[in-house]
């Protein structure tokens, strides 16, 4: 080295530890070597817990809504469920026909065909032929699965008979729920506190009108003194339910009152449809019995057995229909009457006392929380105009004080 190139040690040392050129992004290689996977993170707008929860809540609501809509549609389809009978020629000599039940809904179709005396695949083919005819009539796609089971028998019928049974099947399947008045079973519960339980009890029991078929289903008056309690179950006409409840309310102070209804329209329609079909089948079987009095004894006996089964089914359906009619026609009112000075029963033991105390504490806490939130909402929203005014005043005072200080300074 010479003097012309006088060494600046500081500068040279600095240059020795300076990297020239771009950085080779060694951190990426290190990440790859470490095998750090890419972590999928929420988008920025979802990182906040609140927005994340809102998004999840929205998705959940959408899913629930979808489930609700689908369920509604499925229930709707269920209401359209109906059935009927069919007959199909068997592939055995002698012009015999097979008799069975066909049932279907708007979305599916199946057949319960005769199981007894079935011989080979040919019978199923014949049953399938009848099914296809029914499907063609009601617009179903051919090829639906055939469901086995059910009752019935094998009968020799003419072609006309086959057509009639297939016609019944079509009629039965195509029946849908009528758009008539809905059938609702009304129920109500009212809990009263009366100064004179006994008087209120007897007044309540006399509210029913025997002329309209109303009655007291059951009643009880239990306890003595302050523990006296009256309970009645009234069956009153639906048209009078509101009046009866109004009169019950005058008997004492209402502590609890609930009112509800159960829609049984689908059940009524189903029972009616089944009853109609059973009656048709019964009529046909009777005609068949009259016409074929010279048939073999075994077939006649089978026919009578089927007639008995159909008759039994009809009776059961009639009973169901009447029961539903009674339920719909008469509302059920449960009346509970307590004395005005009744004291709550002491808890049965320490566990019950602990449970009641916890329940009271929980309820009290919830009530306090609700009250607090409601109070905050009332203060924030209700007093909005005052908050704005207060803000304006505070800002004005602050500006005034600053200006004054500046002036003094």
């Amino acid at each position: 080295m010479n003097d012309a190139a006088a060494l600046n040690l500081e500068q040279v040392l600095g240059e020795l530890t300076t990297w020239s050129g771009p950085a080779p992004a060694l951190w990426r290689r290190a990440l790859a070597a470490a095998g750090v996977p890419r972590v999928r993170r929420w988008p920025a707008f979802l990182r906040s817990p609140l927005t994340k929860r809102l998004a999840i809540g929205g998705v959940a609501a959408a899913v629930l809504l979808t489930i609700g809509v689908v369920s509604h549609e499925m229930l709707g389809a269920r209401r359209n469920h109906s059935w009927g009978y069919f007959a199909a020629p068997a592939d055995v000599p002698g012009s015999e026909y097979w008799f069975g039940r066909a049932e279907g809904t708007a979305g599916s179709f199946g057949v319960k065909y005769v199981q007894e005396n079935v011989e080979g695949v040919g019978v199923q083919e014949m049953a399938g032929r009848a099914i296809r005819r029914v499907q063609e009539r009601v617009g179903e796609v051919p090829g639906s699965p055939v469901r086995g089971g059910g009752a019935g028998g094998r009968y020799s019928l003419g072609d006309a008979g086959v057509e009639r049974y297939v016609g019944y099947a079509v009629q039965g399947v195509s029946e849908t729920e009528p758009a008539g008045e809905r059938q609702v079973v009304r129920k109500a519960t009212i809990e009263l506190v009366a100064t004179d339980v006994r008087t209120a009890f007897f007044k309540a029991s006399h509210l029913v009108s025997a002329a309209q078929g109303e009655y007291v289903q059951d009643s009880s008056l239990t306890g003595t003194g302050t523990q006296l309690q009256g309970t009645l179950t009234l069956r009153v006409a639906v048209a009078r339910l509101s009046d009866v409840l109004n009169e019950l309310r005058t008997l004492g102070e209402v502590r609890v009152e609930t009112n509800g209804g159960e829609d049984v329209t689908a059940q009524v329609v189903d029972v009616e449809a089944r009853l109609r079909n059973e009656r048709r089948v019964e009529q046909e079987l009777l005609e068949l019995l009259d016409k074929r009095s010279d048939a073999p004894l075994k077939e006649i006996l089978d026919l009578r057995t089927s007639l008995g089964n159909v008759r039994q089914s009809i009776e059961q359906l009639i009973a169901q229909r009447e029961q539903l009619s009674r339920l719909v026609a008469l509302a059920t009112v449960l009346v509970v009457i307590h004395p005005a000075d009744a004291k709550p029963l002491p808890p049965a033991g320490l566990a019950a006392y602990f449970r009641d105390t916890l329940q009271r504490a929980w309820r009290g806490g919830l009530t306090f929380l609700v009250d607090t939130v409601a109070g905050l909402v009332a203060v924030v929203i209700g007093g909005l105009i005052w908050w704005v005014l207060l803000l304006v005043v505070v800002l004005s005072v602050r500006i005034y004080v600053r200006r004054r200080r500046a002036t003094v300074a």
Partner: protein
Amino acid sequence: MTTPGTDEQLLADFLGGRRAALGELARRYERPLLGLALGLLGGRRDLACDAVQETWLRVIRFGRQFSGQSRFKTWLYRIGINQCRNLQSATGRPAAGDGEPTLAGKPAPDPAPETVAARTDQHNAVRRAVARLAPDRRAIVLLCYHGGLTHVEAAEILELPLGTLKSRLHAALEELRGMLGATCRTSETEAGP
């Protein structure tokens, strides 16, 4: 839009799963670390890259062990120096003249060939002299003249008291001057940023 954040926040973000946070840290420190490694490893760029890659690898693997008692920068440099020492022990003492013959810094304003040749000679001479220093003195000299580091930070990185660092730096510079002859015109009082 998020603010860049401190080194410690970026490390926490990376450990929380945000890979880009490590990229931001690299944007701040990769080039300085490469420069320091270049100096410590006798100008070998390939070894410097290996050392820095190993440094990042250790940050990735042992980032959770960073307790926050020291600053991230200090911790990172300490790892980098340790990696350079490991590579040195594996490859042997950096030989004089192992580095690139070209200048590592900015090009000189005077592009005269004789001046460039003279500066290259100077660099090689200094590099050879630094390579002959003891490892601890070599690290002290390079850290103290490494851009972006103060003596206090260098002392923290080497885990030495500031006074000890300065006295060792003085001794190292004297040794260097002795090796380089009378051409040095700097003093330890001027030295350091």
